[in-house]
Subunit: 190 residues, 2 copies
Amino acid sequence: MKVSREQMAVNRERILEAAGRLFRERGFDNVGVADVMREAGMTHGAFYGHFASKEALAAEAAAHALEKTTARWNEILDSAGERGLREIVDSYLSPKHRDAPGGGCAIASLGAEVSRQESELREAFAGEIGQMLEALAAYMPGNSQEHRKEQAMALLAQMVGAIVISRALGRKAMSDEVLAAARKAVKLGS
Amino acid sequence: MKVSREQMAVNRERILEAAGRLFRERGFDNVGVADVMREAGMTHGAFYGHFASKEALAAEAAAHALEKTTARWNEILDSAGERGLREIVDSYLSPKHRDAPGGGCAIASLGAEVSRQESELREAFAGEIGQMLEALAAYMPGNSQEHRKEQAMALLAQMVGAIVISRALGRKAMSDEVLAAARKAVKLGS
DNA sequence: ATTATCTATAGATCTATAGATAATGC
DNA sequence: ATTATCTATAGATCTATAGATAATGC
């Protein structure tokens, strides 16, 4: 049942993708290695040929998920500039994002859990948050780099908090209102 | 080893308090019934005389924790009015709160996990978030009730997101900067 | 007599590993 | 020959329960 060197790389990527989705949907503790492997189309035992432990997978998958979000944002910002910023904010603060955590922002879905983990995962995650803030800061209003970074931090906090609250509220009307209130509160340059 | 009716009520409260602290510190899944009972000074088996299941405890403990935060806020607001609002915001967005999740805001520590749970817990938690928003809205700037509620939602989102991000960042300098940026971004009436 | 708590354990679940299997790639 | 994957399982952990114990309260 051995597969080719190329196929193995594909399989590893498939495990990372499945893990990224499942972890964001259910949280680290409610996803077993066997769940991830089933989702990726392999057996439980094959996992340990790709990763040293569940913890190592969690670190890679969480960072990988955040990285993909930042990459998407950078694409939008590079092509649409400040208008892209508004697009990112409105998309983040949408019921669609709230209802699809599996492909959404990992800070909102896994941030609290990451903060309880030590070492590897924490470091990787913190680094990716830094990248994300830099991406936003480049297009924030403000006359100094420092001010723009500050604005980016406040904006990201506004967005993450709104999604966390709206998800906790569930499908209630108030949930949509929280998203709308946050969208309205975000003032972007001219 | 039977205790008095009164003592039993005290014991139940002690379980709730221990659970509230441990759940906020480690998350629901990383706390066992035995951990809670050890912390409360009883044995594992005694738990099921007080609560039907771990899930029932989680629902009560999470709602209870949020309720206590809202009660504290209402006390401050009743005595200090709009000035109290600034006090609440600055205290929420402090390194002290970031570093002490066990007694802090349950939305920031447990919000994401709550949103993955069904029924009881979700409902109780959503109701408490509503109470919390009402407490804030009463003292928010704005000329209509609707506008104040909207402002309260945006404020709570700003605060929750900043704590989630700052905790994920750990003890890095950027963590303090996020809190400071959020404090600065919160504009309260006159 | 009632019942809150304790001791002990059943049953389920999860991570990680050991050894077998079979396809790749030198 | 090498090695990615599979089967099977050991060992740990956790929820919930059963039966025993001992103090309360009618």
